[in-house]
């Protein structure tokens, strides 16, 4: 190649490099050494330029972005070649940009190839390709890098998903707790109004009942007086008849008074039960309480419709001594559990027949720091699937209006208010055992 043509080539190469590096490179001078249909690739996806105007815009953008940055460029030629007939040339460079921000220096390693064509006695840029050198040895098609990125992404997605799942579980738990609390509130509200209603009814019954009792008592007293007066009169068959009649009336009044008292005691216990939390926590002879209420429950059951024969066994640990509890409330626990056992065993009798011998066992036991109370029947048992529903208010397995579904719920509430626990163990067809544990402080 002659010297002039070679000089022209090296000048043109230098201008292209200057165009890239210099911040103030004059854009209108580009036309002189670049063909109009120049094509090039930059380092980023959108840097795919076809035509002179595109190149000018790229350089202009670059100049704007470089303003105020402390940039240093270092170019070193890797390879160059002049093509046959000396009408085309190709150069490849390593192109390192150092960007200094504060005291931090960042290196940007680039590769840059340029192709020139000799036309009309001038060398002109026809193609360039800039790319960023990435650190991926032996990874020709960036496959490994992609796999790594993919793995990193999957890991991230996994973490986020786990995070979300955990948050979701927490939310669901919170909703569950809210629902349970809401249910409890509704039940408490229902129970409270039920209690008030019972108390109101009991009071309303109490007043007329007092009249019945008082008037019957008074009339008995009057008959006594009449009898005294009557003795002062002369004997006669009529007098005998009157005396007999008066005796019968007195006996009738006695019966009215007797049954009035019965009704009165029922009303009193209704009032006592509806007055929730009226009693106080006091050291209580728990064994005596169990004996008394087991007896009461049994006789209550025998006096009601469909009485059954039950073998009741009390296995009471006398070493438990006095236990701090609300006797009024806890007597309901004992009554409810025994009554339930009777009802369950009655059902079994109607299914199995008279071969089955109903048996109820109540135990107390002294455990470390707590007292155990067990009420066990050999009734039909509680199927697994309804066991956890048993303590829910208004859940009942009893037919029609036989059960309110409140007994076990109230029982559970009372045990909880004693800071105790209630567990249900059962085997269908064999037994049901309610285990109450009460802490002793």
């Amino acid at each position: 190649m002659d010297a002039i043509k070679e000089k022209l080539l090296s000048d043109t190469v230098q201008r292209v490099l200057d165009m890239i590096v210099q911040v103030n490179f004059p854009l209108d001078s580009i036309d002189a050494f670049v063909v109009s249909d120049v094509m090039g690739f930059g380092t980023t996806v959108d840097e795919k330029i076809l035509g002179l105007e595109g190149l000018k815009k790229l350089i202009a953008d670059q100049q704007v972005q470089s303003k105020g940055l402390d940039l240093k460029f270092k170019t070193s030629l890797i390879h160059s070649r002049i093509f046959a007939r000396e009408n085309a040339a190709f150069y490849s460079y390593d192109f390192t940009i150092t960007i200094k921000i504060g005291t931090e220096e960042t290196f940007l390693p680039l590769r840059f190839s340029i192709v020139f064509e000799y036309m009309d006695d001038q060398w002109k840029l026809v193609h360039w390709h800039g790319s960023q050198a990435v650190n991926s040895e032996g990874d020709t098609w960036h496959r490994n890098e992609l796999v790594r990125k993919n793995e990193a992404l999957q890991k991230l997605v996994g973490e986020k998903t786990a995070d979300l799942a955990q948050k979701n579980a927490q939310l669901e738990k919170a909703i569950q707790t809210l629902k349970e609390t809401q249910d409890q509130l509704i039940q408490q509200e229902k129970l409270a109004s039920l209690g008030q209603l019972t108390a109101g009814i009991a009071h309303e019954i109490k007043n007329p009942l007092n009249f019945v009792n008082n008037f019957s008592e008074l009339s008995t007293d009057f008959i006594d007086e009449i009898e005294v007066e009557l003795e002062k009169t002369a004997e006669s068959p009529e007098k005998e008849n009157i005396k007999e009649l008066l005796h019968d009336i007195k006996s009738n009044l006695g019966k009215i008074r007797h049954h009035g008292s019965r009704a009165d005691s029922i009303v009193k216990s209704m009032l006592m039960h509806s007055r929730g939390g009226a009693g106080t926590v006091e050291p209580t002879d728990l064994n005596a309480l169990i004996r008394e209420y087991a007896n009461l429950a049994f006789h209550g059951m025998r006096a009601n419709k469909n009485p059954i024969n039950v073998d009741i066994r009390l296995d009471l640990d006398e070493t438990i001594g006095l236990v701090s509890l609300n006797a009024e409330d806890f007597s309901r626990v004992v009554l409810n559990l025994i009554k339930n056992a009777f009802d369950a065993m009655r059902d079994k009798i109607s299914v199995v027949g008279s071969d089955y011998k109903a048996k109820l066992e109540i135990r107390t036991m002294n455990l470390p720091n707590k007292v155990l109370v067990e009420v066990e029947d050999n009734g039909p048992g509680v199927p697994e699937e309804i066991r956890d529903k048993l303590l829910m208010p208004f859940f009942t397995t009893k037919k029609g209006t036989e059960g309110t579904g409140l007994g076990l719920s109230i029982t559970h509430d009372i045990i909880k208010s004693h800071l105790g626990s209630l567990e249900i163990e059962s085997s269908v067809g064999e037994f049901t055992r309610f285990r109450i544990e009460l802490p002793i402080n």
Binding site: H203, K206, N210, F211, F215
Partner: protein, 126 residues
């Protein structure tokens, strides 16, 4: 000695008249009955000063409650003794009555022996 019973239950009159038959017959006591707080105040206001010595009043009554009646009597006729008779023997009612100057507090059903003793004592002091 004149005693006024206040209760919205009308049968109270028959019951108490029969219970105190002997005392009434002997002229020891004279009973009057009012079936509301308002009626009680009317009866007490008929004479000045009223001849009534003792008022027994129920607490739970429609209209004026027994406790309101107690306050009114204590203001207008401070010399009259008032005792309450109530089915609600809770401490709240009891404390309110006693703090308002009630002489005694009887729960329903009424213990007539206690009531008779209370009245006999009052008769003796007259």
């Amino acid at each position: 000695m004149k005693i006024l019973f206040v209760d919205d239950e009308k049968d109270v009159e028959a019951l108490f008249r029969q219970k105190f038959r002997k005392e009434i017959k002997s002229g020891e006591i004279e009973l009057a009955f009012a079936f509301s707080g308002k009626e009680a105040l009317n009866i007490l206001g008929e004479e000045n000063p009223p001849k009534f010595v003792y008022v027994f009043s129920d607490i739970n009554m429609p209209g004026m409650s027994g406790l309101e009646l107690l306050d009114q009597i204590k203001t207008r006729f401070p010399n009259i003794q008032v005792s309450m008779i109530s089915a609600y023997g809770d401490s709240e009612n009891y404390d309110r009555a006693m703090n308002s100057g009630a002489k005694g507090f009887f729960t329903k059903p009424v213990d007539f022996e206690r009531l008779k003793t209370e009245i006999a004592e009052m008769v003796k002091n007259q």
